[in-house]
């Protein structure tokens, strides 16, 4: 009797199921003509304040909506509803990230054709969201000045998978002696060429550049030929 186990090649991505759903979503978004932006960051970096400001400014010229992931509460969705755009909460329970299937469920009943921009606010976490594609066109990683300049070096994967970075709470930069140059250097080290914006959601500084960045990214996407995948 041969005790040697037989080796069966499979070559399958562990997150294949998520990738399949994310691809479906991306296709749907493209067909509907909606540009999808996901926001990732650590907890407390100002995602919700930033999104609230973004939604209220962007709705003046575009049709916008947001999906918000949160572990337990609907506080964020309540806050965002103040921007007077459609907002839906995805409560993840104990799950520390959003998955494509949750986004798909969250979108039920929404007519994507009626939207120009859809924002997906991920659960505050700089680790797991990096591995889960949710079908977005643009992944934006937020870093607040109160977190320290070395965050990009501590969480290189999430910065490396992002399409843009936003430094938030710039109004506090001086008070916490934030070294903006060091932060930029660190971001460029883990993701050379990553577009970087600096904003204060509270005072509105930098929001104009951010909105312009969104508009340009969206128009570039709609002009691009139909490509498969990310």
């Amino acid at each position: 009797m041969n005790p040697q186990p037989r080796l069966l090649e499979v070559r399958q991505n562990v997150l294949r199921q998520n990738d399949v759903v994310a691809r479906e979503l991306r296709q749907r978004f493209r067909e509907a003509g909606v540009y999808v932006v996901s926001l990732v960051s650590s907890p407390g970096s100002g995602k919700t304040a930033f999104l609230e400001k973004t939604l209220s400014l962007l709705r003046q010229s575009y049709r916008v909506a947001a999906l918000v992931g949160d572990l337990a509460t609907d506080n964020d969705a309540v806050r965002l509803a103040r921007a007077q755009v459609p907002v839906k909460q995805i409560t993840t329970g104990t799950l520390c990230h959003l998955e494509a299937a949750m986004v798909r469920t969250g979108l039920e009943g929404w007519e994507l054709e009626q939207l120009d921009f859809l924002f997906i606010e991920n659960v505050g976490n700089l680790v797991c969201p990096a591995s889960y594609d949710v079908g977005e066109n643009l992944r934006v990683v937020l870093l607040s000045v109160t977190e320290g300049e070395d965050k990009p070096l501590k969480y290189p994967t999430i910065f490396n998978t992002a399409d843009a970075a936003v430094l938030t709470k710039m109004d506090l930069a001086e008070a916490v002696e934030f070294d903006s140059v060091a932060a930029e250097v660190n971001i460029q080290r883990v993701r050379p060429g990553l577009p970087l914006l600096k904003v204060s959601s509270k005072r509105g500084e930098g929001m104009g550049e951010w909105l312009q960045f969104l508009a340009v990214s969206r128009s570039l996407e709609s002009r691009e030929p139909q490509t498969v995948g990310a």
Partner: protein, 115 residues
């Protein structure tokens, strides 16, 4: 995945799972290994081993027109010219590459297969 294979092979046992783990996959090897036993309990993988092959990040440098492994994931620089590189050609893997299968009648001696 393993259960499907096991089922369609008349209950053959999966004795090990081979996994490619990229340095940029966002998953820590130690965490995977320590949770393996717990996660596989009561499944077709109970008692199986997880063999992880760690994959370094390999980047392509447009200047040197060559690829090479990063020295550190905290610094996306070409190993040759030290210039910034953004094209990752390897290192995001989280992929099951193979299953070691013990057919029903040879379950007694779970032998060690070459890694």
């Amino acid at each position: 995945m393993a259960e499907e294979e096991s089922d369609c092979r008349g209950g053959a046992r999966v004795s090990a799972v081979h996994l490619k783990l990229g340095a940029l996959a966002g998953v820590v090897k130690e965490a995977l290994l320590s949770s393996w036993e717990l996660a596989s309990e009561g499944t077709a993988l109970q008692g199986s081993r997880l063999r992880i092959e760690e994959i370094p990040v390999v980047v392509f440098c447009p200047k040197c027109q060559a690829s090479g492994a990063l020295e550190s994931v905290q610094w996306f620089a070409c190993p040759r010219c030290k210039g910034p590189v953004s094209e990752v050609i390897q290192g995001r893997e989280l992929q099951v590459t193979a299953l070691e299968i013990l057919e029903r009648e040879m379950q007694n001696e779970p032998a060690t297969a070459p890694a």
